[in-house]
């Protein structure tokens, strides 16, 4: 079985700054992995490299939906990467603010539908069926995520935690096999975080979607993750189960600093 995402020797340079330095990472099907590290370690840059917002300076990003054949996706445009089954959320919420909650999710259905300009104008049976499919699918996702009470509300009128969940709902609509969550719990209160914890597990177990998340909330990371990857200054400094990471000296050093011998 091949990993569904395999990153090999990835570098990302911004001018003279090496934001990601020879990073390796692989995720198996059905895994919940976490990417942690101090602020500015290059976690979001890593997401941007995988999802096509940046093109990595060197290295390979390989995906494999069926776990048999790997496909290189370096330098593909973000929309193509999404079509291939990698969906993401953003650290600073990026919802479509002039649209309703349902429409936000409907946008997510874009890559799995195909109505064109003529179809939209003539609204033939195929276009109507597809529109119905989009609406039904979006509503089903909102029900699953627990946002079905807000269907016709404007996305920005939702409470903060609900907005984050809506981002996840929107990403789910694109039919991903791997969901990349960039700090999903940021700004959430403990109760919301707990609901998020359950939601992520539910997505993994019921939808069969693997998850890679960036998170600073260690309690959430430790309880959820099967595997944790720690980066600092763009380099990987540790990898393993939550237990391993807790006891890894390099990780402790990166987070807490080093003891100075007197």
């Amino acid at each position: 079985m091949k990993p569904i995402l395999e990153v090999k020797h990835m570098d990302m340079d911004f001018g003279g700054l090496r934001a990601i330095d020879d990073l390796d990472l692989s995720i198996q099907a059905g895994e919940i992995a976490a990417l942690i590290g101090p602020n500015g370690a290059g976690k979001t840059t890593f997401f941007n490299c995988i999802t096509g917002i940046y093109k990595p300076s060197s290295g390979d990003v390989l995906i494999s939906r069926d776990q048999t054949k790997q496909e290189r996706i370096n330098g593909l445009k973000p929309n193509i990467v999404t079509r291939k089954g990698l969906a993401r959320t953003f650290q600073n919420i990026r919802l479509f603010e002039s649209m309703t909650v349902l429409e936000n999710v409907m946008i997510g259905c874009h890559p799995v539908t195909r109505t064109g300009v003529l179809g939209a104008i003539f609204r033939g049976s195929a276009a109507r069926a597809e529109e119905k499919f989009i609406v039904d699918k979006s509503y089903a996702i909102l029900e699953k995520i627990g946002l079905d009470n807000y269907v016709n509300e404007l996305a920005t009128s939702l409470p903060y935690g609900a907005q984050r969940r809506l981002e996840i709902a929107r990403a789910l609509a694109t039919d991903p096999f791997l969901l990349l969550l960039d700090e999903p719990a940021a700004g959430m209160n403990p109760r919301e975080t707990k609901a998020l914890d359950e939601l992520i597990l539910k997505i993994r177990d019921e939808e069969n979607i693997s998850i890679l998340l960036i998170e600073h909330d260690m309690k959430l990371v430790m309880s959820l993750s099967d595997n944790i990857h720690v980066v600092d200054y763009g380099k990987k400094i540790g990898e393993g189960s939550p237990e391993d990471i807790r006891n890894n000296p390099a990780v402790i050093k990166a987070y807490l600093g080093e003891e100075i011998d007197a």
């Binding site: 445009k77 874009h110 276009a127």
Partner: protein, 407 residues
């Protein structure tokens, strides 16, 4: 009470300031005949009192505006918006509007009909630009170029190949669409202010080419004797043709509204709005940014092209002076004033902006002042435009296992 005192104090200060500002021009007058200075204190008093009351009114309106944003959302929906949401009422009003429009050329003079044709051409232009600006959020300041493409394509194709109106109409639209895509291509990476500047340049390029390429477009002297649309081979009188063109443009406007409404509430239209709201998130949702932008440019330009063909047929004479940057600005204003993304809004905006100056010719000198003032007031009190766009709502039956909720 302190609040009222505060308001009065601020308004008094404003009044004093205006009295000071207008002092040199409104109070002092040098009488050159008798070589003496007149002091017109009465003017000053007038300015002071006038400004004071205007300032009070302004403050009151601003306060009401601030209060308004705090109230519930549903109360904020204007009368027209509620009308749009009520299907039964909407259809009866629409039916009345259609009957009125059909009877219009028979009820009013040729002059009125002719003005109405111009206004309806602008409605079409506004609706087209609404795709580009209102839906896709691409600030296009050179939109009139596509209008010119349509007008010139009819004029030139007719001149050289004798093409009739009915063939030129779709062809003009198609040519404008192609131009839209061609112009859209190099500016795919730009947005906001940069896009506005480049499109402004493109608009001017088209106009300058038409003005200077004598061999192609006959330069500033333009093209005359463009035939009116034929009516089954029958020669219509001047009145007859005007009425005929009126019905053609009405049909075209209805067609435009139909198509844009369909596009608006479709996968394509949603992609445009997503693009306007957030480009990065839009791409992360699997939407091809380049394709979506080109679609918006092309489909927006198409209506301008068709409007151009009708314009050429109506005036039977075109020259580059009809396609200046000023026209682009007017079209942009109709969209902004009417309400970005809202079809009814743009319709009303265009009719208002084109018809009012025609009927208020008596105040022609103040046109620019009124125009500017109206825009400023709109931006302060109704930034979303006269009739804001209402999002489509959906209703669902709850799944049995879902918690019940009121909607």
């Amino acid at each position: 009470m302190t609040r009222a005192k505060d308001e009065i104090k601020k308004s008094t200060l404003t009044a004093l300031w205006f009295m000071f500002l207008t002092f040199p021009i409104l109070v002092i007058r040098v009488n050159t005949v008798e070589n003496e200075i007149e002091w017109r204190w009465l003017n000053m008093a007038g300015i002071g009192i006038g400004t004071f009351f205007l300032s009070m009114l302004w403050r009151y309106m601003i306060r009401r505006q601030e209060m308004g944003t705090k109230t519930d959302k549903h109360d904020q929906l204007s009368l027209v918006q509620r009308l749009l949401l009520n299907r039964k009422l909407f259809f009866s009003v629409a039916a009345c509007a259609v009957v009125f429009t059909l009877a219009f050329p028979h009820m009013f003079s040729m002059y009125q009909t002719s003005i109405m044709i111009s206004a309806l051409i602008y409605v079409m232009l506004g609706l087209g630009l609404n795709i580009v600006i209102g839906l896709a959020g691409l600030l296009d300041l050179g939109y009139v170029a596509f209008f010119a493409v349509g007008a010139y394509s009819y004029a030139l194709l007719n001149l050289h190949y004798g093409l009739v109106f009915w063939i030129a109409l779709p062809l003009g639209g198609l040519l404008a669409l192609i131009f839209g895509v061609l112009f859209g291509y190099p500016v795919l990476r730009l947005r906001g202010d940069y896009l506005a500047i480049v499109t402004l340049g493109f608009g001017e390029i088209i106009r300058l080419v038409l003005e200077n390429w004598n061999a192609f477009s006959f330069g500033p002297s333009g093209i005359a004797d463009i035939p009116k649309p034929p009516f089954f081979g029958i020669d219509l009188s001047l009145t007859g043709t005007t009425i005929y063109i009126f019905y053609i443009i009405v049909a075209l406007v209805i067609f435009t509204i139909f198509v844009i409404n369909r596009l608006h509430n479709s996968r394509i239209g949603r992609a445009w709005i997503a693009l306007k709201d957030d480009e990065i998130a839009c791409q992360a949702m699997g939407i091809d940014k380049a394709k979506t932008k080109l679609r918006a440019f092309g489909l927006g330009a198409m209506w301008a092209g068709m409007g151009g063909v009708v314009f050429a047929a109506k005036t039977s004479f075109i020259n580059p002076a009809s396609f200046t940057i000023w026209e682009s600005v007017i079209i942009l204003c109709t969209v902004v004033l009417g309400g970005m993304g809202s079809i009814t809004g743009v319709l009303c905006g265009a009719l208002l902006l084109i018809l009012l100056p025609e009927y208020l010719r008596a105040f022609a000198e103040f046109r620019m002042i009124i125009f500017g003032a109206v825009l400023v007031l709109m931006m302060v009190f109704r930034p979303g435009g006269m009739i804001e766009n209402v999002r489509q709502t959906y209703h669902f039956k709850k799944s049995p296992d879902a918690a019940p909720v009121d909607s």
